[in-house]
């Protein structure tokens, strides 16, 4: 499947791009993270501590164990600091 992946805040800075399109067969968010991390060191480094990261699937907060079936947009980012 084709996924649009977005990165925000320091995660965007570490990975070096705000968004990218990825072809993947990953079943879950965690699988996708493992796939990206295996690709290049900058991903492995950025995703080294998942407890410091949040994920949204099609603009809704989700868990790293969530399935990717039917998803088009995945966003990774640090805990939010609005207000």
């Amino acid at each position: 499947m084709t996924l649009e992946i977005l990165y925000f805040a320091w995660l965007r800075e570490r990975i070096g791009v705000p968004r990218e399109t990825v072809e993947t067969n990953a079943a879950t968010v965690a699988d996708l993270v493992a796939e990206l991390s295996a690709r290049e060191d900058r991903y492995a480094l950025a995703f080294s501590d998942l407890s410091a990261l949040r994920v949204a699937l099609d603009q809704e907060l989700a868990e790293f164990a969530a399935p990717l079936a039917g998803v088009r947009e995945v966003a990774f980012f640090p805990p939010m600091t609005g207000g």
């Binding site: 925000f8 805040a9 320091w10 949204a56 603009q59 966003a75 640090p78 939010m80 609005g82 207000g83």
Partner: protein, 147 residues
């Protein structure tokens, strides 16, 4: 109910004046305004707010709808800026209106707690010694358990 996500400044006084104006069913209005502090851990030069266009509006709408389900609100407003902000600039505001003060207070407090930790905004602060992303506080996440 109104949600606005914008880079432009907003006029807090004008928004307060217009909110609920002319309605006779409103007995209580609570407003909150968040402002860039200049003196926090050394002089701040700039605060940059990044957000996730699309998801931001969805998240804020969901939070506001949640508040409307929990309390008897006559009206509800959220404005949040993004982009570069200078010390003293207003970052965001919420306003709630209700027949009675308890509902208006609780809803505004709730909106702020959820907006802090569940709306996709990130703050980066620039000082003389460089830039840093603001870390989420454990106390902000803990505040959600109040509701």
């Amino acid at each position: 109910m109104e949600i606005r996500v914008q880079s432009d400044p907003f006029d807090f006084g004008r928004e307060c004046a217009a909110f609920g104006a002319g309605r006779q069913d409103i007995g209580a209005i609570v407003t909150f305004c968040g402002i860039v502090r200049g003196q926090d851990q050394g002089q701040l030069h700039q605060m940059e707010i990044e957000h996730y266009p699309g998801m931001t509006e969805r998240a804020l709408t969901q939070i506001a709808q949640d508040a409307q389900r929990r309390w008897a609100l006559s009206d509800c407003l959220i404005i949040h800026r993004y982009g570069p902000l200078a010390p003293g600039e207003k970052i965001m505001m919420v306003a709630t209106a209700s027949a009675h003060r308890a509902d208006a207070f609780a809803a505004a407090d709730f909106l702020m707690d959820y907006l802090k930790s569940r709306a996709p905004f990130w703050k980066k602060e620039t000082r003389a010694d460089g830039s840093d992303w603001v870390a989420a506080k454990a106390s902000d996440e803990a505040a959600l358990t109040r509701w």
